[in-house]
């Protein structure tokens, strides 16, 4: 039972999400291979080779793969799809961009954001912004699925690496071209894998005020997140949006400040271990999922909280 995992990386570093996908893959097969498609990404393949339970790393290193555009990567995945019982990727924007394209080329369904695997063809996944969990069974010969990293443990690292095999990608495509990218250069932990997340909403009132969360985040080693309203109002960049259409997080501690708790926001954070809500409206929906609620003006309590930590 062979499983192919598409590595999540930026040509330098393998993202921890991939190690979470490896844990999920164990439920689907015993021969787990990781495909690293990129350019000048030998370091990534090396990191992948140290994940426990991986039997082989396939390294497709080619200039045409540097930006991991789906039009270029999908044919590489197809070259290695044969004989696989499952093809997996983390449910990141990369994974979501690529895997449906692969599934269609294979003429099979794709299963999105798997949170639990019941058997080799039966999966649980959230629908309706996480308000319903659907159990679906596939009759396809190969399971193509994106996996919600936070729902599976991170596979351990081992000292002895598995084999890294260089593969020659057939990727010529001129349909799409990378133009530019602007990346968030924060030194904070990554939102998707941080132990603590502090998110701000419209209640913060301005981009200036949003910075109030910085000091608190520094003290807690936290990542910063935001509601859609805060992103739309321009307080922070879109890559910080938590929710149905943003990032899904499940940290040990989630602190929601000035966020009302719309279902689309809850979809992105309600699996956090401990939830704290600070809101001046005692009726705010966010209190329904909070373990600890503080009904207060955030501008009064944030400085107090910072001092108390």
């Amino acid at each position: 039972m062979k499983v192919l995992i598409i590595a999540e990386h930026d040509n330098l570093v393998l993202k921890s999400a991939t190690a979470h996908v490896v844990s999920a893959a164990h439920k689907l097969g015993n021969d787990i291979q990781i495909l690293v498609a990129g350019h000048n990404c030998t370091a990534v393949a090396e990191q992948a080779s140290h994940i426990e339970g991986v039997s082989r790393v396939l390294l497709a290193d080619h200039a045409s793969l540097v930006h991991q555009l789906a039009e270029a990567v999908a044919p590489v995945v197809m070259q290695h799809a044969r004989g696989m019982t499952a093809i997996l990727a983390a449910a990141t924007t990369n994974g979501k961009n690529l895997l449906p394209r692969v599934a269609a080329l294979l003429d099979v369904a794709q299963i999105s954001e798997v949170i639990s695997i019941i058997d080799a063809s039966t999966f649980v996944r959230p629908i309706y912004a996480g308000n319903v969990l659907a159990t679906v069974q596939s009759s396809d010969p190969v399971q193509v699925a994106t996996v919600r990293a936070s729902s599976f443990a991170q596979a351990a690292t081992v000292a002895a690496p598995c084999a890294v095999e260089k593969v020659a990608p057939q990727t010529a495509q001129n349909q799409s071209r990378f133009v530019s990218a602007s990346h968030n250069t924060s030194t904070r932990p990554e939102l998707g894998s941080a132990r603590v997340v502090i998110s701000g909403g419209r209640g913060l009132g301005s981009a200036e005020n949003f910075k109030l969360l910085d000091k608190l985040a520094d003290k807690l080693g936290a990542a910063i997140g935001a509601s859609r309203a805060a992103v739309d109002a321009g307080y922070v960049g879109n890559d910080l949006q938590v929710g149905q259409t943003g990032k899904i997080v499940a940290p040990e501690l989630y602190i929601a400040v000035g966020i009302s708790g719309a279902i689309q926001h809850l979809a992105g954070m309600k699996d956090s271990k401990v939830i704290v809500a600070i809101n001046k409206d005692p009726e705010a929906t966010i209190f329904q999922v909070a373990d600890y609620g503080l009904v207060a003006d955030l501008f009064v309590v944030l400085p107090e909280l910072e001092a108390a930590l």
Partner: protein
């Protein structure tokens, strides 16, 4: 330039979903339905391209039961010129919808196909990418900005690390993210006019598409409830609880 926009009828975004007693599926029997919000954004994007003189015709297509004609009329009230209703089961899976849309693309030969990035019921985020694969077109997913010139679409994409700009050769598939635009509301005269716009009804057989089932829904469940929380009286109490009870801070 012709644009095809695919729209889905979904549960209204602000209505709470209920599951059937026998847990076989969600219960939509008397629920308020609407156009998927991401599809509204796709329609708006198409209308703006027409207003800007870039597009000449907008064809809106929906796959589902007869009720999807409501959403087609809605899109035509916003500015789409005509509709195509592909008659099918409302529960069709993404790969099947993509196959039907591919047949519509073959028939219509648009320069651009716009879809929402995700349907808010299934939360699949698949059909656009699948359609791109089946048509062998480039794809620009999660678009927050679109510029069309010289047979190319230059698209800003909302990706995990920030923004990425790609340029795709037309014909291409673009899926829309929330910040692409703010959809307008339909005006009453336009709603009246939309009633007279043509809607072509097609079956999968007429499109030459045979479908097969890949996935079976076994059951649906409510997510596990969270244990009830407490309201604390002060910052001091909050910090004490986080330290000593939840043990999540040092």
């Amino acid at each position: 330039m012709k644009i095809v926009v695919a729209v889905k009828r979904t549960l209204d975004a602000y209505v709470k979903v209920r599951i059937k007693q026998d847990r076989s599926n969600v219960d939509l029997a008397s629920a308020k339905m609407a156009m998927n919000p991401f599809c509204e954004i796709a329609v708006e994007a198409a209308v703006r391209l027409k207003e800007a003189g870039v597009a000449t015709e907008i064809v809106v297509v929906s796959v589902g039961s007869d009720k999807v004609q409501e959403q087609l009329r809605g899109a035509m009230a916003l500015g789409a010129d005509r509709g195509i209703h592909v008659q099918a089961d409302d529960e069709l899976e993404s790969i099947s919808i993509a196959k039907l849309l591919r047949a519509v693309v073959d028939k219509e030969q648009p320069a651009l196909v716009l879809l929402g990035k995700q349907a808010i019921d299934s939360d699949n985020n698949q059909v656009g990418q699948m359609l791109a694969a089946l048509c062998n077109y480039p794809q620009a997913t999660f678009a927050s900005h679109i510029a069309i010139a010289d047979g190319q679409a230059t698209v800003s994409r909302e990706v995990d690390g920030g923004d990425q700009v790609v340029s795709v050769t037309l014909p291409a598939i673009i899926t829309t993210d929330l910040r692409l635009n703010e959809p307008r509301y339909a005006k009453l005269p336009d709603i009246m006019k939309a009633k007279k716009k043509p809607v072509e009804v097609l079956t999968p057989a007429q499109l030459g598409v045979t479908l097969r089932q890949h996935l079976k829904l076994i059951e649906v469940n409510d997510p596990p409830p969270r244990k009830p929380g407490v309201i604390v009286g002060s910052v001091q109490e909050l910090v004490a609880k986080l330290r000593n009870e939840a043990k999540v801070i040092a």
